[in-house]
């Protein structure tokens, strides 16, 4: 039997049992209309008595008003604001007695967890319990995303700190479930009109805005806009991975990274993309990071005179971006620095170092799909640093993947992985055909693969016969989208 069926049975039974007294009601109402209320004559009150009564009344009003104001203040004035952020963001305002005055959802997820619950007048503890319970029930808090931020705002710093500690402890207890343990970040906050504007703009609580601001003040690579879409679990992971110490934020528990592929798989994806094996690389580092609001494994390593930097999608393992550029600290094994025996990636000999040895460069700076690019690059200016410029038109070896363009590293800039791209070679051939210039005659050749509005684009630049060429090639079809040709003055 369902709840609805029971409700129906009860409704039916009481409806049938209710006696019909309508006639009696209507009759009595009719009789009431004819009733005459007898007005008794008022006795005259002396003016002295009136004054005494007036003064007494004023006194009572004064006392009553003060008491009433205090009662009103205790019951209806916001004493503390407690905000909860997971991805749902909700803000609870309570009075002095910690009775809930209002619970406001700051985003759609917040509305979902509040549902039709009305917390007005209930204890803060009850509201907190119900909201966290709803987050658990709706899967916003789980073993793959276990972090919650609780922020407390009270004019009295001591009260703020006490409430912060108490609520964090209560929430932590609630998150000690059979399947996972929670990670609770807690902080006290204070009004900040500028930050409040940002919080309102992005539909988050002031607490989350303060946390994001702290992170970007410690790691300036990030922007507020980029981090605002991240969940508290992601922000927690980000700050831990980047070793960011958040002032005034108390942290209990460990943020879950179970939603992600793990460092091992991310590393394997990067090595596979680079065509390298574990033994080929040195100076390896890996950390979780955010790129345009996407959590990635940022992997860096060196090999064969190049520095590699990868962003691997933390959930799918797809290579989102990679960068490969000559390692300025690289010293070829057979050409050690003067007075020092160098390993390929040890030490720095900026003035004497040799550019990457062609023979040791398996994929010398080309994009992954530039399969036809010759591997055997000859150092254009051996004995100088890769940065040492040669002027355009000098005797470079186009296609050698070294630095044909003076002033430019032959560098695979940030490349975005896209399934539908035709490949750099096809794009380059289209440009060669369009410009009527053989690839061998180009100098300063540079190709960047980018994603614009979800479409793969190749941006190709080169110089030839005193002109600068800039092309945009459709990565899906290999057709020329845009080109510019300017005299290189």
């Amino acid at each position: 039997m369902t709840n609805q069926e029971i409700d129906n049975k009860i409704r039916q039974a009481f409806s049938n049992a209710a006696p019909d007294v309508l006639d009696a009601v209507l009759t009595e109402c009719a009789s009431q209309e004819g009733k005459v209320i007898v007005m008794t004559e008022k006795r005259k009150v002396s003016s002295l008595k009136k004054w005494a009564v007036g003064i007494a009344a004023a006194f009572v009003l004064c006392i009553g008003g003060t008491a009433g104001f205090r009662v009103y203040q205790a019951n209806y004035t916001v004493a503390s604001t407690v905000s909860l952020d997971v991805n749902p963001s909700v803000e609870i305002t309570v009075n002095e007695k910690e009775r809930v005055l209002a619970v406001d959802a700051k985003n759609e997820d917040g509305k979902n967890i509040i549902g039709d619950m009305d917390f007005k007048g209930s204890d803060l503890d009850v509201a907190l319990n119900a909201l966290v319970g709803s987050m658990l029930k709706n899967g916003y808090l789980s073993d793959i995303a276990n972090s919650i931020l609780v922020s407390v705002d009270n004019n009295d710093p001591e009260k703020s700190a006490e409430l912060q500690a108490r609520l964090a402890e209560e929430i932590n207890k609630m998150l000690q479930t059979d399947s996972f343990s929670g990670a609770v970040l807690s902080q006290t906050i204070s009004s900040d009109s500028e930050l409040q504007k940002l919080a309102d703009k992005y539909g988050i609580t002031l607490g989350k805005a303060q946390l994001i601001q702290q992170i970007i003040s410690k790691d300036t690579r990030h922007t507020f806009e980029e981090l605002v879409s991240l969940t508290i679990n992601e922000l927690n992971l980000l700050s831990k991975s980047g070793s960011i110490t958040l002032d005034n934020v108390n942290s209990v528990g460990t943020a879950s990274d179970k939603a992600y592929i793990g460092e091992k798989k991310a590393k394997a994806a990067a090595l596979s993309h680079a065509g390298l094996s574990e033994s080929d690389i040195t100076r390896y580092t890996c950390k979780l990071d955010s790129e345009d609001g996407i959590i990635v494994y940022e992997i860096e390593f060196c090999s064969g005179g190049y520095e590699y930097e990868y962003d691997i999608h933390a959930v799918s393992g797809v290579v989102l971006k990679y960068e490969k550029e000559p390692d300025e600290d690289y010293v070829a094994p057979d050409k050690p620095a003067e007075g020092d025996v160098q390993t390929p990636d040890a030490g720095t000999t900026p003035d004497t170092e040799t550019p990457p040895d062609a023979g040791t460069t398996p994929d010398t700076g080309t994009t992954p799909d530039a399969g036809t690019t010759p591997d055997a690059g000859t150092p254009p200016d051996a004995g100088t640093t890769p940065d040492t410029s040669t002027t355009p038109g000098t005797n470079q070896v186009p296609g050698s993947n070294q630095t044909p363009n003076g002033g430019h590293h032959h560098r695979s800039e940030w490349h975005h992985q896209a399934q539908t791209c035709v490949g750099e070679t096809t794009a380059r051939n289209a440009v060669c055909a369009h410009a009527g210039i053989a690839f061998e005659n180009m100098t300063g050749y540079k190709c960047e693969q980018d994603i614009e509005d979800g479409a793969c684009i190749y941006e190709i630049e080169f110089e030839c016969d005193g002109y600068e060429y800039e092309y945009e090639v459709d990565g899906a079809t290999g057709t020329i989208l845009k080109y510019e040709k300017e005299y290189d003055d």
Partner: protein, 198 residues
Amino acid sequence: MILHLPDEQESGTNSNAGVLDSYISRIVTGDKEALALLYRATSASVYGFALSILKNTQDAEDVLHDSYIAVYSSACTYRSAGKPMAWVLTITRNLCLQKLRERKKMADVLPENWETGLESRREISEDDKLVISECMNRLSDMERQIIALHAIAGFKHREIADLLHIPLSTVLSKYNRAIKKLKKYLGKESKSDDKSGN
């Protein structure tokens, strides 16, 4: 007095709130047809709620009567906030509490007679008597009031919390406990009915 009235009871609080509001507005002008319409739409909720508090059919009937008299005489004080049913049931609750106070003063009156009061009424089916009996016997006072407000008046839990001045969490837990008990006992009855039917 003969009035043509729709034979329906209010089943929810929000769906008919506008209609009930309009009845009360008309009652202010002395419109008895509007009072009759309000009565038809809400009397089961009023009686069920009163019986759940008083556990005395005669007292519940008195309160049912007095509630509509009070509605008629104080309709001008009603300020619409989209909750006409809450207003009516607040009147009912206050009258019930008044009755309970009177009972305390008159200790010689048998306080709870719902069983004998229902027994004598042959127009009520045995099934309905059984359901009322389970509600009266199995549930605590507060559970019974919550169930009456939810099942008969169609109140949401937060509206019940407001009316009874108790925390929402209490309403939720007591409602769940009550419905569990009723499932157990009413479920047993319906199973035994099925078996005897077979």
